[in-house]
Amino acid sequence: MEKSTDSTIIKATNLTKTFGGFKALSNFSLSLEKGSFFGLLGPNGAGKTTFVRCLLDLTVLDKGHILINGIPHHKPEARNHISYLPEKFSFYPNATVRETLQFFSVFKILNKKERTPEIEKAMEELSINDLARKKIKQLSKGQLQRVGLSQLILGKPKVLILDEPFGGLDPLLIKDLKDLLKKLNNEGTTIIINSHILSEVERLCDSLAIIDKGKLLALKKIQEIDQDLEDFFIQTINSNKEAHL
């Protein structure tokens, strides 16, 4: 096994995952530097969600291994500094926004005294202070996403994983979200985004990978791509299809 350097935060080697004969990930390897802003691109059903679920040990790998900050991914400590926003964030419908954040804060903020001020700060960041006492079931989709995002940034995690964060959001929230992610990345947070909205990824990420049918087709720094991202994306996917004909 290749030794990972100190600056590697995630190192995935030869990941394979099949669902009843169907290969959702096939010999997928990837390693990410600390502080990178990484976009995982691919068409629907490519395996993006499967990959991040494997990182978080929500899905059991058939083959391969993952190191997070040097810790094997199946140990709970590996998730100490990772924060995850699933494609559809949800919480108990009768819990209030504040209760929701309190719940997550216990896992993410060790120092008890810091929890309340951190929760206030996170709500401030996403402009949801007014919603603190509303119940989850009373929130609109965008408001719920804001709660999910404030949960995500609680306790300054080292790695953020966001699965399709832009889906169904209004332009205002997309802008807030992009500003927030840029700010956190400048402060050193590693960010992983799954998306098929190329324009957003292009403006945010410093590196990206293209995945289709569970295979890694390209892994590039953004400045290495000298053509339009959309053209590059379509070409990469198509050349993979032709290779299979």
Binding site: L58, T59, N80, F91, P93, N94, A95, F103, F107
Partner: protein, 276 residues
Amino acid sequence: MRGRTFFLLVQNTVQKEYRNKTLIFLFLFTLFILWMDQTFFDFIKDKLFQGQTFSLFNFKLDLFYYIISSWNFLMGALLGVSCLRSDVQEGVLEEILSLPLSRINYITSRLVGTWLIVMGYYILSLLLAFLVFGYKGKGGFDFAWPLFSSLIMSSIPILAVITLGALFSLFFSRVWALLITLLFSSFVSFSNEIFAGKYFEGLTQIKSLGQGIYAFLHTFFPHIGTFNTLSKELFGNHELTKNLSLELVHFGLTFSLLLFILLKRLRSMENYVDEG
């Protein structure tokens, strides 16, 4: 770290049911039973023993205890079935498991939280019963201590029923899981009567298929029936007819086995989202 998150999840389990108003419903149910119980015995006393003075305390309490303990069995199954299942339904399980928390920590804290709800409810109901039935005027109260040792004993099979409910809920829909839990627990209880006092040697004496199934249930699952018998014996102030320490060892082993199966099942689930 581990203790802190365990405690939080136990607390969260209770909050979850509290927010769902389940506990309020249960409390109303208890009041109803108390009232029916009280009315029933007062009616009998008025009609049959007019003018005689004696206390109906023990009769009232006995009836209440019987109703509440079988109700608790049902409640254990009901809450057991929902304690993990509701996390799947609300789409929260995926978020919880992505936190730095082991699956076994998650499972045990949910089970313990549910068990605390059932036991807390049990104790409150009985205290209420003392208040209502035991009042003798002038600040005096009747009290029945054996009830509390009996209560502790019956908390053991309730934990087993909750765990069975949680396990079945990861295989079947809620309603089916509830039915199967109740049926399964009854069969286990029944097998405990057939093989009373035997432990792992039950398996060596099989003569028919039916007997084989009962021997299997008796050997590999917690002795729900035996602990219920023990609890009734304590309530009636009788000698214990079973070897308690051996029963506890057997419980420890079979309960660990149940936890192990539950853990494996949770591990192998690919989707933490409800399919219907």
